[in-house]
Each structure stands twice: as structure tokens, then as C-alpha cells.
């Protein structure tokens, strides 16, 4: 793409909004997918109502809007496999990892073994991860 400098930065996308009700989640995912073409070091964080974006079994039929949740399952194919979900946000909503979609990737350094992309982390761990980033997009 247009960045030929070979710079690799750590880019973090923070998702804090529910998947429906506002367009933030959908348009955030669009940035993530476009950004994947830039060969950067990408992480995603899901906190607050953002954890609902990864909820299993989303059905938007009655809303009349598109259910875009299957797109998250493609992230692994875009080499996006560091997906951090805040434990406290899940707990506050009565959710745990079993309520989330299984997001996986194939590890090219480990004979393409299928691995889990989702990491449940505490607020403290999330803050450490954020500290390490060069760029933080907040949606």
C-alpha cells in the first residue's frame, strides 16, 4: 500500500460499544480490515459494552440491520490474532468466554496449528497491553 517505509507499529483498536444501536462497532471493524493490508502489529481490545460484539448467536432479524458478527471469524485469516477481552467487563454483564464466538487462527510458526485468538485479561493486564502500543484507535 502507500506506506513503503517498512515501519511496523503496534496498532491497537479499542472497541467499547455494543454491536448494534450505533454504527461504531461496524465501522471500527471496517478500519481493522483495511488496516490489515498495512502489515502492522495489530491488537484488538473489547471492553465495556464492546464485549457484546463478540457474543455468540447474534440475531439481528428483528432489527432489520445486517448481522456482521461472522466477519470477526475472518480476522484470523487477516493475521489478526491478538484479541483481548476485559474480564471485568464480561463479569459485569454476566458473561464468560463460553458466551463468546470462538475466534481462531492458524499459526504458521507451529505447523499451521489452529490456536485461540481470544485472550481474557484483567483491567490491569489490559492497561499494561495498552501501555505497549504505538497507536491506539478508540471506537
Amino acid at each position: 500500500m502507500s506506506d513503503k517505509g517498512g515501519t511496523v507499529k503496534k496498532l491497537m483498536y479499542i472497541n467499547r460499544k455494543a454491536p448494534y444501536g450505533t454504527i461504531y462497532a461496524l465501522e471500527s471493524l471496517e478500519v481493522v480490515l483495511i488496516g490489515a493490508a498495512f502489515d502492522q502489529n495489530i491488537s484488538l481490545a473489547f471492553i465495556d459494552d464492546g464485549v457484546y460484539q463478540l457474543a455468540k448467536g447474534q440475531n439481528t432479524e428483528a432489527l432489520g440491520v445486517k448481522n456482521f458478527s461472522p466477519t470477526y471469524k475472518a480476522l484470523g485469516d487477516y493475521d489478526i490474532n491478538k484479541i483481548y477481552v476485559e474480564k471485568e467487563s464480561l463479569q459485569a454483564r454476566g458473561l464468560n468466554q463460553d458466551d463468546l464466538m470462538a475466534l481462531t487462527y492458524e499459526d504458521e510458526d507451529d505447523d499451521w496449528a489452529e490456536k485461540n485468538s481470544i485472550h481474557i485479561v484483567s483491567t490491569k493486564e489490559m492497561s499494561d497491553i495498552l501501555e505497549q502500543q504505538d497507536v491506539v484507535f478508540s471506537f
Binding site: 465501522e27 497507536v135 484507535f137
Partner: protein
């Protein structure tokens, strides 16, 4: 220092559009650089020249246009977000069979790659929104 600026909210509805402008102005006044201002989500509405605020209020759109003109700042509106919200330049207008365009002077429409690129080329990306 080089700053990239992301504006995620619309003018008049949300303080973010004003704060982003004030911040951009301060960046230039302090002798720093702006790699690009990128408008996303309802932020694309910062770039319609058809905005007509009351005369005793600030004109957020023309304020951006003048800022871009004076300091040669790249103001980029996301094409996908703009199409959803009815912001178009003459090319987009023709391509989509519309009878007019409404992009304000100093703005241009381009893709999300411009946002990612700005984030890579800047020392800091500052996001204005909720």
C-alpha cells in the same frame, strides 16, 4: 512532533468536532505538524459545504476549510462513511448518479487507508469522539 487527528463525531451535535479543531489549531500554533485530519463516523459531516448555522454561531465547516487553506492541512473524509451519510465530491456524485456534490473546500474524499497511513507516519494519533 507530527500529529495525526481522527474526528469521529459530527459538528454541532458533539463537542468532539470543536475540540479537534481547537487542538489542531494549538498543534500548529505551537510549531508542530499535522500529517492529516481524518473524518470518520458522523465526523464526515464536518465536511459538507451546505451547512448553514445561525449567524451568531461558529461555522464549524468553514472554520476547517479556512484552517486547511491557511496552513495547508490535509483534510480527508472517509469514502465509506461519507457514502452512507450523503457526503460526496463531484466524482463520487457522478459515480453514484447524484444530482450534486456537497464537499466543502479544503476537504477531499479518500479511503480508510489514509487513516492507517496517518497513524503510521505520525508520532501521535489523537482521537476525538465518544
Amino acid at each position: 512532533m507530527k500529529f495525526g487527528i481522527l474526528v469521529n463525531e459530527g459538528p454541532y451535535t458533539h463537542q468532539a468536532a470543536d475540540t479537534a479543531y481547537q487542538f489542531a489549531l494549538a498543534v500548529i500554533n505551537k510549531g508542530h505538524e499535522i500529517t492529516r485530519v481524518f473524518f470518520y463516523h458522523d465526523g464526515v459531516n464536518n465536511g459538507t459545504r451546505l451547512t448553514t448555522p445561525p449567524q451568531d454561531d461558529r461555522n464549524i465547516v468553514s472554520r476547517w476549510s479556512e484552517f486547511a487553506n491557511t496552513h495547508n492541512i490535509d483534510l480527508v473524509i472517509c469514502v465509506a462513511a461519507a457514502q452512507r451519510r450523503g457526503i460526496c465530491d463531484s466524482g463520487e456524485s457522478k459515480r453514484n448518479g447524484k444530482d450534486t456534490d456537497n464537499i466543502a473546500p479544503g476537504f477531499r474524499i479518500s479511503g480508510l487507508g489514509q487513516l492507517i497511513e496517518a497513524s503510521i507516519l505520525s508520532d501521535r494519533l489523537v482521537v476525538f469522539g465518544d
